[in-house]
Amino acid sequence: MSAKLTGRESLSRKVGPGVVLALAILILVASAGPSEHAKLVVRTTSNLGAGYNGVSCTGAGWNNSHLSVGIGSCQAAFGGQYEVNNSAIPNETNGYNFSFFVDWVGEFTPSGQLVRLASPLAPVSGRANSTVRGDEVNLSMSQVLNVTNASGEWTPNDTWAGRGPQWNVSNETIGTTVFGMGVQLNVSQFATANSTVNASSSVKFDVGLSGWPWAAQTDRLGFVLDSLGAWGSYFTFNATSSTLADNWNTTNRTFISVVFGGDARVTYPSGPGAVANVTEQAGLFAAGIPNREAVVLVAFGNVSGNYSQVAYDPWIVFSLIPTTLPSHPPGPSFSWDWPAVLIAATAVLLIGGITGQVVRQVRLRRQGEELVRGMRVAIGEEPGSTGRAR
């Protein structure tokens, strides 16, 4: 684990025009409504990602009068802005902004050398979706990426996917992989009546990868998470072994902490899965004062390669102080024990399905008997009416 502070670069250079546009849309959407609480106004858009380098991308967004979040498939990013102190958005003093990007995913040798690379900046195709269930907002996106050969070594100073060409990235496509990202948040935890953000405000996001064309079974996969807090927000990264804290915090500024889970689930084509250790390397630097950006390489190791899927679910926690929480902090109601939920759901579906089939058959038989009786009435075999309505 390493933590280094490096130089600064402009926002647009660092995150690309697509994300700048996405953020602009987020800000515009967020500023559209009056400052009201407990009023969820769902406005989704199908083109939040807007495109990058001529590639048309899809996105999805959600906002109410206080919080605006979006996800864009082209940048594999999600970002948002929320209000504190009951002030209007945008407001560089009182409004808070955050964005997270997955710059690239890659395959590493045991010695840490990059051998294969896929960049969400240039997806073959992508789609995004947003759903709202009560106070829970789910944003998701999935994209197909080309995987190419590459060579090089990642260091925390490598700030974003622009580093890619320096890794001798091949033009030849080895294969494709499917990269997915999901964001879940409970919006009620963000819309406080006044003053500060709720201490337990958190966002759960998932990162998943499937169908990676492996170079070697001894390798491991990793991705670079690029986090940017803009317009006066501050954040800290809390890794499993150390904390990267931005001490440039002022009173009542909100920290955005990314809480990395210590493990990820991998699944092999043959069936059984395994738990991979998650390791991070991180760099934290200013991205134009008062912004702060952190670039973290998250890698999944300690298991054999060749896994067909990897699923990882870090958390983002908003608080007034740097926050270090367990890998699965208490938060929105979607923090479930997934295996137990799946087993229970399967049992419920089976029992419900069987019961439903029996009930349906009984109902159909009764209705069929009424039909046959009605036909007999129609041809004079039985007296009476043709039955009741269905």
């Binding site: 069929g368 039909l371 046959v372 036909m375 009435v377 004079g380 075999e381 039955g387 309505a389």
Partner: protein, 145 residues
Amino acid sequence: MAAPLSRGNVAEPGPGYAVPGDGSTPVPVWEPPPSVDTRLTGANADSVRLALRVVVQLDRLGPPGPDGSARPEATQDGLATTLGVTQGAVSKVIARLIAVNVVAQERRHVRGRDRRVRVYYLSPEGEGLAHRIEERFGLSARTFG
């Protein structure tokens, strides 16, 4: 199955005849005469009326052939097109008739479809009911339409 209503009994399409899209021998469509409506007084009358038509139509189509193929008119959408009703209405009636063993179903290849689809035909009970309907209304090939 009533002999006059067996498949291929009608040579030329005419008024009231449904012409399948695949160009096979058209199948005549029967409408219950107005006299039946006087008996169909319940709220379930529309379903009964459609059930009568479905049973007669399936009797007219016969069971799937021994070669494994079946007529496209014996599918849900085929019946709906032929009878001039929605597929949902046919689906509802077919499901009820299957539940009481009047209609049977199989997956078969039909012309114009890439995959096997469900086709419907009358069970022995259904054929018996069809015979009684046809006798009651004096149906023959010439009376169709």
